[in-house]
Amino acid sequence: MALLKVKFDQKKRVKLAQGLWLMNWLSVLAGIVIFSLGLFLKIELRKRSDVMNNSESHFVPNSLIVMGVLSCVFNSLAGKICYDALDPAKYAKWKPWLKPYLAVCVLFNIALFLVTLCCFLMRGSLESTLAHGLKNGMKYYRDTDTPGRCFMKKTIDMLQIEFRCCGNNGFRDWFEIQWISNRYLDFSSKEVKDRIKSNVDGRYLVDGVPFSCCNPSSPRPCIQYQLTNNSAHYSYDHQTEELNLWVNGCRAALLSYYSSLMNSMGAVTLLVWLFEVGWARWGEGRGIHLPLLDLMNGWDLRQAQESAVSLLQTSPQLSCGSDRPKFE
């Protein structure tokens, strides 16, 4: 007794073979897409590893890269099996490997689903990494003559300009650290001496921010120093002034950037996963892959149906298609 009898004539078989060949190559393309997404994310994380204390987790991009490579490998292997299946001698060689191959395919699909979930869930760890990294970055802003940290000022300035943000949570973070190096302070000035004496650690704290916090959309030239002193500037009220500096904190800005990146990658990976699983289910539901291959090998139809039924009863899924379109 056969599962789902399907009548085949030559034309239908050829169309089916062509369709399966196309699906196979689409899967390889999808694998390449996942690989490049993982690579892109890795490069983006590397670019900003300075403000993440070099301790950010590369789990998501690494797993995307590995999944992409594995997907290409498995689907090319599937193509090779089906191509060889048209030759009885070679097909006999591959037959004992089919069941383990199908089991590995199932595992691969489960792993792909887990990676998709990770893409959406990595936000929390990224947030804490960014908070620590930015705090340290701002602390080393003035150390432009310390080897190993001399680039931190440039990094933070370019970050604030590019992401339109200021400080960790807001511009007031700059009031709490000394971001002007001692080399550029005039120690004979009374004002400098007062400020240094006004706190325990002897730091020169100002109510000012670096120039990279300035917002170009402000109608007045940027006010960077004496931000809390209304009388220092004409017609200025620091409580109501909104456009002078960027209001976002860099932690929130970077977090939203990376979240949107990982969400879109998760969505693409989910689509690819659905494609892989859906295609396999379709193939199994029709029960045609193996009878088709057997038919193409010229086997007896009854024999073909029996072999298909026995295989379908023992394995949960098939993900194999013929990849040689026949022009007869």
Partner: protein, 351 residues
């Protein structure tokens, strides 16, 4: 009446010609597509920089002509690919026979003409960028403070973003800002003696300071940015105004923008050159293929040796034929129809 530049084409070389032509046509289509992309990119850049280029600058004509030339090249490439593919298949060739002649004329005239014009513009126009940028940047600097004047309210933001993105300051250097009032009078305290002194110190009553906007600051500098009192040697510790200023961007925006736009124009120029050469090759190949197949009467697999040529007769003969044909068309009952009116007059470029 000897044909111009004849070439004997038996079956195998004809097939090779068709195959090579197919490849070249796809390359031409690719080159046409690249030209389209390059000119599109240049148009977008010009649109973004429109505030800094005076409206009378003719530079914008270059990407527009290049866009048209790229489209025609793309079309020629696709037609060439279709025709050369069809010439290998007896069933598909007949519909192409009638169409190929006029298409070749159109391709040579329109495509060739546009490409030559675009190349000429690439060589001539970048010179006009100088004056255009000079005027445009001067106006932008003067209107920096006019953030509440309709029509100029975006000048400050656009100029700040330009200086931040292109790493430049002022027109030719940061000192240009010393000669312009860039702080709006709304934010000047009229009771402050310093403000009054400065305003009275010059004829036009402008508030001029030796300071620059924040967007001139260079993040690579080791010290926090110095923007004000740049001519005063005692205003800041360890700062000497006579030394080159590492605090601010040294390049002027005029030079920065000029370099940027000129490099875009030269990339476009090289793409246009490649497209032009490919187009000539494709058109020549198509012409030879067409005339060879016409010689065989449209039979693709004919084993006979056909002769391909550029023009069926020399230039003088062609002009004479064209003149007589025109004369024949005007006189209703001509008896001296010239014997040169030999049958296939297809695709004669009579222009």
């Amino acid at each position: 009446m000897a044909p111009v530049l004849p070439l004997v084409l038996p079956l195998q070389p004809r097939i090779r010609l068709a195959q090579g032509l197919w490849l070249l046509s796809w390359l031409l289509a690719l080159a046409g597509g690249l030209t389209l992309l390059c000119s599109g990119h240049l148009l977008v850049q010009l649109w973004h920089l429109s505030t800094f280029l005076s409206p009378s600058c003719p530079f914008a004509a270059l990407p527009q002509v290049a866009l048209a030339a790229g489209t025609v090249a793309l079309g020629t490439g696709l037609v060439g690919a279709g025709a050369s593919r069809a010439s290998l298949d007896a069933a598909q060739y007949p519909p192409w026979r009638k169409v190929l002649g006029p298409l070749l004329v159109a391709g040579t005239a329109a495509g060739g003409g546009l490409l030559v014009f675009a190349l000429g513009l690439t060589l001539a126009l970048p010179g006009s960028l100088d004056t255009g940028l000079e005027e445009g940047l001067g106006t932008a600097l003067a209107h920096y403070k006019d953030t509440e004047v309709p029509g100029h309210c975006h000048a400050k933001r656009l100029l700040d973003e330009l200086q931040l993105r292109h790493h430049c300051c002022g027109r030719h250097g940061y000192k240009d800002w010393f000669g312009v009032q860039w702080v709006s009078s709304r934010y000047l305290d009229p009771s402050d003696q310093d403000v009054v002194d400065r305003i009275q110190s010059n004829v036009e009553g402008l508030y001029l300071i030796d300071g620059v906007p924040f967007s001139c600051c260079n993040p690579h500098s080791p010290r926090p940015c110095l923007q004000s009192r740049l001519s005063d040697p005692h205003a800041h510790p360890l700062f000497d105004p006579r030394q080159p200023n590492l605090n601010l961007w040294t390049q002027g925006c005029h030079a920065a923008l000029l370099g940027h736009l000129q490099s875009l124009a030269s990339t476009l120029g090289s793409t246009l050159t490649v497209t032009f050469m490919l187009q000539i090759l494709v058109l020549l190949g198509l012409r030879y293929l067409q005339t060879a197949l016409e010689g065989l009467g449209g039979v693709i697999d004919g084993e006979g040796e056909a002769q391909g040529y550029l023009f069926p007769s020399g230039l003088k003969d062609m002009l004479k034929t064209a003149w007589l044909q025109a004369g024949v068309a005007h006189r209703p009952a001509p008896e001296e129809a010239p014997a040169e009116e030999a049958p296939p007059k297809e695709g004669l470029p009579e222009a």
